[in-house]
């Protein structure tokens, strides 16, 4: 039995194959040099998801702003939200980021929930807003399958890139379009099969470039609770957290330099 398409390159038995196991084009960068001694202070990470529970212990009081996208006369607009998570998923994502970059501020942009099906337009509006806020990193543990929104998402991914905003996007394991996770300007992440948050792999074969911890992850959940979950949704914030540390350590670093450091600090495929 195989594993999901985009996770395949990152699982035992496959990691020794193909380009994942190539010689590094330049030397490995030690993690201490890349992000040692920093905690993400001074940076803001936006989480586009189901909201973040403001008082959840796993968030450590770092949630500084909550907004949501709602439809006004059929047009999506960003309005203030009440710091609640309608599902639990966004709190899980925020908690993972906080566990890695504990001093980074979090901003929640809610596009999911029982009253909002995460329509593509709401997602676009949220992403546009986050880029406009000048946050350092945006975590996207969701994607749009709308072929019609390809150009809009592509334009926003490029705008983020040139605005020095790093987009970290969970790959969708279901075949077909998945935006913006398939774009080169974002950092795309799938789950690997190692139960260790400090292990990530770089895969130079697109479209999914990073494999991170996403199996049996103990996460924060709604109503102050916790759960154990599996999915690419939970791999992305592990990379977003590390990227936040890298950006905290090296002020002014660009998205592509951040991605290069993520790759240069990745585990060797035979390390585990």
């Amino acid at each position: 039995m195989t594993v999901p398409t985009w996770s395949q390159a990152f699982t035992a038995g496959n990691r020794g194959l193909g380009r994942l196991n190539r010689r590094r084009p330049f030397g490995r960068v030690e993690r201490e040099a890349a992000f040692g001694g920093v905690d993400g202070s001074g940076l803001t990470v936006a989480v586009i998801d189901s909201g973040i529970e403001v008082n959840h212990p796993a968030i450590g009081g770092r949630l500084v702003q909550s907004v949501r996208v709602e439809l006004a006369d059929g047009r999506p607009v960003v309005v203030g939200d009440d710091g609640q998570d309608v599902v639990g998923h966004g709190t899980a994502v925020g908690g993972i980021i906080h566990s890695i970059a504990p001093a980074a501020d979090l901003v929640s942009i809610r596009v999911l929930g029982p009253d909002n099906r995460g329509k593509g337009e709401a997602f676009l509006t949220a992403l546009d807003w986050a880029i406009g806020q000048g946050v350092s990193v945006v975590n996207l543990s969701l994607s749009s399958k709308s072929e019609a929104l390809y150009a809009d998402f592509h334009a926003l991914a490029d705008r983020a890139y040139f605005s020095n905003v790093l987009l970290v996007s969970a790959a969708n394991n279901v075949p077909g379009p998945s935006y913006p996770s398939l774009f080169a300007a974002v950092v795309s992440v799938a789950a690997h099969d190692v139960r260790d948050p400090s292990v990530w792999f770089y895969n130079p074969e697109p479209p999914v470039e990073f494999g991170a911890y996403g199996i049996d992850v103990s996460v924060a959940w709604r109503a102050g609770g916790r759960s154990v979950v599996t999915g690419n949704s939970f791999a992305a914030p592990h990379i977003a957290g590390v990227a936040t540390l890298i950006r905290s350590k090296h002020p002014g670093i660009s998205p592509f330099e951040t991605k290069a450091l993520l790759a240069a600090t990745a585990n060797d495929p035979d390390e585990r």
Binding site: T11, K145, P177, W221
Partner: protein, 286 residues
Amino acid sequence: MSPGRAGGRPSRGPRNPASTAAAARSAAADARSTAAAALAVLKAVTARVDTAARLEPAAGDAILRSVVDAAAVLIRAEAASIALHDPATDTLTFRVAAGEQGQGVVGLSIRPGDGVAGYVFATGEPLAIGETTVDPRFRRAAAEQTGYVPRSLLAVPLADDAGTMGVLEVLDRRDGAPFDLADMDAASVFARQATIAIRATGLERSTAALLREALLAIAGGERATDVEALVTGLTRELEPATWALADAVARVRDASPEQIDLVIDLLDALVRRTPRAASRYRAPGR
């Protein structure tokens, strides 16, 4: 033929053959007979939809049932089920289930974004959840309605390039272990099979959406409420034969402005005659 139109039937005939009023009446009569014909088509097709509604779900659900049976056996799970999205009511309804414990879920409807299935439907992201007893998203109350509370579950979207149409859920591995990436991939394979089967049989086709689109094109957006009531009343359990109805209505787009006016009148008449449809529209999801 159309007893409800009796009161509106024009008094055609040669009583005032020379008057302009009569000429106008004659034109109106032509248009009304076109409308009557359209009504006849609607009624005939609706009757066939009722028949199809009794026949088609069994055939379509049989395919889905074979998929959930295979998924449960090959993933070695206690139960599996498929929920399909109905755009007319914007609900996810569990259509089929495998495993004795899973049967209670059939017929259960949830909102997109609600519960694990709703979340996976809304995001398109597969998700495995263990220790569901501590997962507030897991709607224990709803699960208890079905008589079966799983320890862990795996949910993958039924999706293809055209969009997400539902969710495949797999409950409780028989060995008690949590679901892993390999299970997720296996479930995704079954989800793809189900998706192809659903597309092939047209089970997912939103006949109501097509019909609504056609009627709105004729009647205009300001009559959306009437259209909604009519569509709900005519289609009930939506089945492929309703495509014929939608096609029939779509052809009316080529009609003259006068004829279109009359189709609008027709809408009025039909809405008045389907009070159940109107009340169902006011209380969606009930």
